[in-house]
């Protein structure tokens, strides 16, 4: 099929599409909400990264110290060599090859994160960005199932945070259908128990907690679940 075989659109269709091409501006309240949600997600991610930072403090401090030392030496050397031309920032790329990688928290801390945070902290051991197969170095995003699994789960978490336990349960069932063996199974099951408790379905919650204990005996989420179910 060559472009020349392509039948052109009718005049009417072209006219309509050219009108559609002009983008209407979204209402201000919508824009404010969208940006607010985005910022909240970034703040939650920052908080999680800081927790991870503290955890891997010693490793990071070493990397940081090395980066600073390297940069200082490079900067000083360049300054000596080219008096007047500031080449400092351009020396950066090689020196910081290792620095930007702040490791994401390895252990899940979702129960510790207060309900106000809408963004799920990443409990998945291998981060969603990058480790999964990225087939080709294209401009297209490496959006794989893992990324969508996370956003699907965070919707359930958000509903739970709003106290909408039924909505959360529905979202969790949906998540189960789509990602039966996904990486966030533990997280999902923990949220399900919370939602059941929120709805006053205590017996179901206790049974679910028992199943959780059998399935994930060494889960870090277990103590909090036990505590919640006991109450």
């Amino acid at each position: 099929m060559k472009p020349s075989d392509l039948e052109p659109l009718s005049g009417e269709a072209q006219r309509l599409l050219s009108i559609e091409r002009e983008l209407p501006r979204e209402p201000e309240d919508f824009r404010a909400r969208a940006l607010g949600r985005a910022r909240a997600a970034l703040r939650a991610e920052d908080a999680a990264a800081r927790r991870g930072f503290l955890k891997h403090r010693s490793r990071l401090l070493l990397a940081a110290a090395l980066s600073v030392a390297f940069t200082a030496v490079a900067f000083a050397a360049l300054r000596q060599r080219d008096a007047g031309t500031s080449a400092g920032p351009n020396a950066a790329p090689s020196a910081t090859a290792g620095a930007p990688a702040m490791p994401k928290p390895a252990a899940p801390a979702p129960e510790a994160a207060p309900a106000a945070s809408e963004r799920a902290t990443t409990p998945a051991p291998s981060p969603l960005a990058g480790s999964a197969a990225v087939p080709a170095p294209r401009s297209a995003p490496s959006v794989d199932e893992s990324a969508l699994e996370l956003v699907s789960l965070q919707r359930a978490r958000a509903a739970l945070a709003r106290g909408e336990h039924s909505t959360a349960l529905a979202a969790l069932s949906e998540h189960q259908q789509r990602f039966p063996a996904g990486r966030l199974v533990e997280e999902r099951e923990a949220l399900r128990i919370k939602a059941l408790l929120g709805l006053g379905r205590n017996d179901e919650a206790r049974r679910a907690a028992e199943r959780f204990r059998v399935r994930f005996p060494r889960s870090v989420l277990l103590p909090r679940i036990d505590e919640a179910v006991r109450r």
Binding site: E20, F30, R33, L42, V68, A95, T96, P100, S139
Partner: protein
């Protein structure tokens, strides 16, 4: 002092990366919303879909090459979010009047533009999503087929084939909708 600042900047690139991601998101919010609507997001879904796109955009921001245009990249994410939603709700319901009426109605002379846009959304809904994506990128966003093929991971031939079918489906849908309008 300069060295300290430089060292500080180098140690915390994540902050600047994320800020530019948010800037990009904010700058293209209108494009993103309209794109999601064209790909089937309804009023109830739109806010969540927009947030999903942001989360994925943010997560992959370090991989995005800023020398390449942002809109095709955004479209790719929006398409995947829309496809994921479609897998969950197989049937696209017909639009309600409320959904098609723009929330910030402008002056009288823009009424016709509103009508035109509503018609386009309804006709687009009749084109299956994989073909619709090509049509939107090519005939609305006016992106070259090479870019479309790249973003949607298609061979060039398939891109043209989908565009041809999509145009036919779109035209047929327009005709049907026009005919319905004419009915008493």
């Amino acid at each position: 002092m300069g060295t300290t600042l430089l060292a500080a900047a180098l140690l915390f690139p994540i902050v600047t990366e994320e800020r530019s991601c948010l800037d990009a998101f904010q700058g293209e919010l209108d494009y993103l919303c309209r794109t999601l609507r064209r790909l089937g997001s309804r009023d109830g879904d739109l806010e969540d879909d927009v947030q999903d796109v942001f989360l994925v955009l943010n997560r992959n921001w370090s991989k995005y090459d800023p020398t390449r245009p942002l809109r095709p990249y955004l479209f790719g994410i929006a398409f995947r979010v829309a496809s994921a939603r479609k897998r969950r709700h197989r049937r696209e319901l017909p639009y309600s009047v409320e959904e098609l009426t723009e929330r910030a109605p402008g002056p009288e002379e823009l009424f016709e533009a509103q009508q035109a846009r509503a018609l386009v959304l309804q006709a687009l809904a009749e084109v299956p999503l994989p073909r619709r994506a090509v049509l939107v990128m090519h005939d609305i966003d006016e992106m070259p087929m090479r870019t479309i093929a790249d973003v949607l991971s298609l061979p060039l031939f398939t891109g043209y084939s989908r565009l041809r079918k999509a145009r036919r489906e779109f035209e047929a849908a327009l005709e049907t909708l026009r005919a319905k309008e004419r009915q008493p």
